[in-house]
């Protein structure tokens, strides 16, 4: 599964990573796994970071499958 990060998350984790999730997992599971593997980014991976699949924000209960691409957005700010 491809994961793409933006903003401070990209700075901490790199722009793209790929993780193996045989059978898939929920977004909540994915957050937990990433926080365990990258403890320095655990805070930034919390609930303030939104997860998107196919350019749509998804809930933590959303189930992602191998082959899906997930994006994580830290809080956004324009102006």
């Amino acid at each position: 599964m491809k994961i793409h990060f933006y903003g401070r998350l990209a700075e901490s984790l790199g722009r793209d990573i790929e993780v193996e999730v045989p059978g898939g997992c929920s977004i909540a599971d994915l957050r937990q796994r990433l926080a365990t593997e990258y403890p320095h980014a655990a805070n930034s991976l919390g609930h303030r970071a939104r997860a998107l699949v196919g350019d749509v924000v998804v809930a933590d209960s959303h189930f992602v499958r191998p082959g899906d691409s997930v994006e994580f957005f830290p809080p956004v700010s324009g102006g």
Partner: protein
């Protein structure tokens, strides 16, 4: 009613944007605009050499369009215009132009105010200040979210 949104990778001239909006608004009685400029100092007082606005390849422009369309629908305005920079922005350069025109002033003021409150908290950018002391990510403050909440 018209809505115009642009994402600019290069510096833009807010005076020219305002002039075009006024020209387009010849049937209106009011044109209100706001220009956001990259500050030379951070809130901490440190010098800021540049602001970096990272954007999303699809969702950034869509967020500008959604906010501008909702402003146009919500207020009794004739024209709404948002121009937003992305990429590397030197201190002193304009970041955003938000403007609206209407028959009477109140709707144009309200629309411009609404545009900025939503852009601060919902436009899809990730903002980083860079200077001699290092770099720091800038996220919306509680006050920014409270300002956004006024419109709900």
């Amino acid at each position: 009613m018209s809505v115009e949104t642009r994402l600019e990778t290069r510096p833009f001239d807010p005076s020219a944007e305002l002039a075009k909006l006024i020209e387009r608004s010849s049937a209106d009685g009011a044109v209100v605009s706001f220009v956001g400029v990259a500050r030379p100092q951070a809130k901490s007082g440190e010098d800021v050499k540049r602001l970096v606005l990272e954007h999303h390849p699809r969702l950034t422009l869509k967020s500008l369009e959604d906010i501008a369309v909702e402003a146009a629908e919500r207020f009794d305005v004739s024209h709404v215009k948002v121009v937003h920079r992305c990429g590397d922005i030197a201190a002193g350069e304009p970041i955003v132009f938000a403007g609206a025109s209407s028959a009477h002033r109140r709707a144009a003021f309200d629309a411009a105010n609404y545009l900025m409150d939503r852009l601060k908290t919902e436009a899809v950018f990730w903002k980083r200040e860079e200077g001699p002391a290092g770099a720091s990510w800038i996220e919306p403050t509680e006050a920014d979210y409270a300002d956004r909440g006024r419109w709900e």
